[in-house]
Subunit: 335 residues, 4 copies
């Protein structure tokens, strides 16, 4: 079978297509014929050696994808050949509290990921792919979708009438928009592009703020919502946290999800304690939440937003686009 | 001023219109010129002496209504003349846990209620009336609306994709339908009338079950949802609880709200413990939840369903209709 | 190996000791040499055919026990020979929400239980036995201990200063006493024996009520705590629920755990809704909670209360004692 | 009457004792004869103009104290002369979610505080003083005690077996120790003094870490608890947060309470998101939690730790001691 791997060293230039033997599913495992994968910013960092410099190589990158059960190992009872399924980012986290152990064996590092023609996974570590979604759409759900769901639902308990602010128009933020709208919340989005702000408004955002025009966008939020927003989906990290702290209401919540703009932040701690704020780190989510999300998505026939779709051999172009930025939604690879 | 009161004895026949002096607002109180009121089943029971036989008479019945601030007592700072406001069912329950003390002083018994041309209430015990709603619509919110909200949001944390079952087409159940839909949930309704089931489907219910046709409607629910529903809005009491216990999923929730069909139920306790069920009694809700609900309603421009509207002098007809049943939504009195 | 089984028909007289072949652990499974077991009321009902009359026979009864890993099947990574472990009542419920599927495969019915010299279980379905406890003590934890923990901690969030009422002096109630005390709560116990009430006071209960003397013990509780108790551990069912509803505070919680006195109860539904009560059915609990409980028990060196200890061949005597009642704490079988 | 006030300008040198007229309680208000007060770090910052430089002067400093009802204004129903009561830090926050409005009118700035012979407060804004505590002990509860309770109980749901780390031996941390112990948790404390560490061990801490000896005390915590602690009481701010992030377990909680060592922190955001951490700002708490805390304290006869007690005229010495540091527990002023 063919796989993409990070070869002898980190770096986009070291991504290479190689042949490996098709693996055999062991007890309780299934062999998947993969159909599509999607890229997350984590995957880019992983390829470049910035996520975990001590990750042994070679490694098949990417955690997200969808496949069809080709064959089942001994003792498999919940799946059969032909089932279309989505592997979980964290195969050992079925439900309950996150622990180091449950998050130790994630796909796309340290375990081999989804950019592989075939893949063996434990039967317990997959969810059924929503029937109404295409392969490409299914491939976007495991990290970006579930992260937004965990932030807004599992860790927050979003309710109708809440106001959510999501930064940018990457995968997590667009899923956050869709999930928040499905729960009857109002959504404010930021972007550096007026065109993209138009698109999120078409998707249901009530307001768009162009942070090129308004550097202090936290203040701009306060003009729209004098008391501040209930929840911020913080994907920027170092440079945006200060504005998020301004945008959020007294007693509000910030989901710390990404660090696109840097990891070391000079945070003014005063608002956190004086305004009773909560900052909750979000590391994807568990399988039970994934299934809840899929149920909600199916109820509303929510379709993930796909920015760009690449063929198997175009993987380097896909990563190049992610690095360049400017996409709107998810970047997918169709096998 | 004119008021309706339960006179010397309980009974619909003892409802009488009388004159009282317009009260003067004391410190921290406001005088409201009432514009509309709405009836709850509790009010009917109260009039008939079945809610609290020891309630001293005369009593101005009804807890729900809306009015305009006519004048403010000393020390009032949050309201001014002309503000349109809705008195809370439990004036002493601003937020937090329910306690006997907080629920001791409810309107429409033991305190005089809303069927009064003027009314004095503490400024802290009202919420601003949503601007987009008519007087009649506002008058429906304090009990029926807030009860449904407390059941689904405060005590349950409803999320998109959940399945809610609501019984009948009374005020609470129609609000439950609207609130559940606003949160992205799916709703199943029961009724004895196909025509009403058509109407709830138009409002967004996914399924209607006519319990005349299907006495064992719990089983009918299981045909639609083999695992059962997540949440039941139980308004019937004695006779319907058995079906609710069949309809709800393993680990599911039942909000015990009303006892239309009786108060003493032969409940089979086994499913409760063996299926890890939760039964949560709901007694309206607090002011902070009322404000959250109004925010959500405004976001979605939700309009309460008014079944029948009566004039001031037609109160006996209004109660007669409530007793007869068959209405769809709230019965209101316009002053 | 020798096992106890319910033979050709239900009934205590049909319990028989037989020989079976020692099973071989499959992939991901371990073979345990069992050391001790404990009885629950469920086991008695099961033997008598009252728990599940359709349970196929023969069946090895009892869900609770402790054993030592004798050998490991292929692929076992978390356990090794010599580890002393406790099998979980519900092997498929590692954490998260309870579901029908997770509770389908419980020990002692439908699956064979712990009254077996050797036993094969999935490695994921056991917890490490607390080192400071004897085999007999460990054997008491899986149902009675975890049920009390789930009721008070998982589903309630017990805090210091809360007042808990627990009925009787069976296993669950004594564990509830110990768990409540460990969390700084105050505990009131009921019993029909003054001597037993003395013993629970020695264990830290602040009050004991003899329900022989005070049939309306709900009122007696109100004399001690005029506002009512925060939480009731309800193990009696039909006959005691009425008193529990009187004893609990406005807005309080009742954990519905057992039905010792019957399953069909004429419940007055009014207090549930008018006092905002919660009734939560409890069906043991998940492995993650089991581990949390063991951590708490170890911190406090809590020792389960063993009423009577029987040898392997004395099983019928053990069940006879359980049927007769009058024990104080758990009945165990030492192998 | 005599009061201490921050006079014409900020600064410890501008604290002055002056005479004011005894105020008269208005409607719903009570006049308290104050008996004792206690100092918080916030009060020191306030006096020095570092808490709110725009605070109008003169201001009576300090939010914490206890008094006896001297007389009641009109309409007061819940209190009578002679009642010993403790004013709440935030008189408008009876319960529920924190909001800017509820936290706008706190004692000791912007409102006059407790260093006053007499004081008028709304009857709704006080809690009954626990009978078993001295005036001085009562005076320590409103901020330091309630902050620790809110962090561990309201916002976290502490349970037996949890491991809590509290920094230093100031008021909040010692209350956290007592509250955590009352809930059956294990406590690790840090200090720069071995002698103080001995004292916290006598109070029940299981471990003490001298951060003079072990600068990287986060690592020292990991030696004791390889998986990390469940909860950190963070009072240091800028300089200690890094160590707290190391000490806390995957998925753990940090209560952000103080900023003794600075407000602008270079925080590495990575562990927050990668380890699913929660940072929760804590700004004291509401009256309902205060009453719960007092109930728990009474159940356990918990006595606040008083470091130093000063007479009325020794206030400058008291603030000087707070500034110098080195105290163990609360600094109180006895009137």
């Amino acid at each position: 079978m063919k796989v993409w791997e990070i070869g002898e060293a980190f770096g986009l230039e070291n991504l290479r297509e190689v042949q490996r033997e098709v693996p055999t599913p062991g007890h309780g495992e299934v062999l998947l014929k993969m159909k599509a994968a999607s890229l997350n910013f984590r995957d880019l960092l992983m390829v470049k050696g910035m996520y975990n410099p001590r990750q042994p190589l070679p490694l098949v990158p990417c955690s997200d994808g969808v496949g069809v059960v080709e064959s089942c190992g001994e003792g498999v009872s919940s799946l059969k050949a032909g089932d279309r399924v989505i592997p979980c980012f964290a195969p050992d986290w079925s439900s309950g509290e996150p622990t180091r152990d449950k998050l130790r064996t994630t796909l796309g590092g340290p375990l081999d990921g989804t950019l592989s023609e075939y893949m063996v996974v434990p039967e317990q570590s997959v969810v059924m792919a929503p029937e109404y979604l295409s392969d490409e759409e299914c491939a976007t759900l495991p990290c970006a979708g579930l992260t937004a769901w965990s932030a807004l639902v599992t860790h927050y308990g979003l309710k109708a009438g809440d106001v959510v602010l999501a930064q940018g128009t990457g995968g997590v933020s667009l899923f956050a928009l869709q999930i928040a709208k499905a729960h009857g919340a109002e959504v404010i989005m930021t972007s550096s592009s007026d065109e993209k702000l138009e698109r999120v408004k078409e998707m249901g955002a009530s307001h768009g703020i162009n942070y090129r025009d308004v550097e202090q966008w936290g203040k701009a939020v306060r003009k729209l919502k004098p008391l501040g927003v209930d929840h911020v989906i913080e994907v920027g990290g170092a440079d945006t946290l200060e504005q998020s702290l301004r945008a959020v209401k007294f007693g509000g919540h910030i989901s710390m999800i990404g660090v696109l703009s840097g990891t070391l932040s000079k945070v003014n701690l005063i608002p956190i304690l004086m305004q009773n704020l909560r900052i909750q780190g979000i590391i994807v989510g568990h399988k039970e939440a994934f299934e809840s999300m899929n149920k909600a998505f199916a109820t509303h026939q929510i379709r993930p937003v796909i920015s760009d779709s690449f063929g198997w051999s175009e993987l380097p172009d896909a990563f190049a686009l992610m690095e360049k930025g400017g996409h709107f939604g998810k970047i997918v690879i169709s096998f």
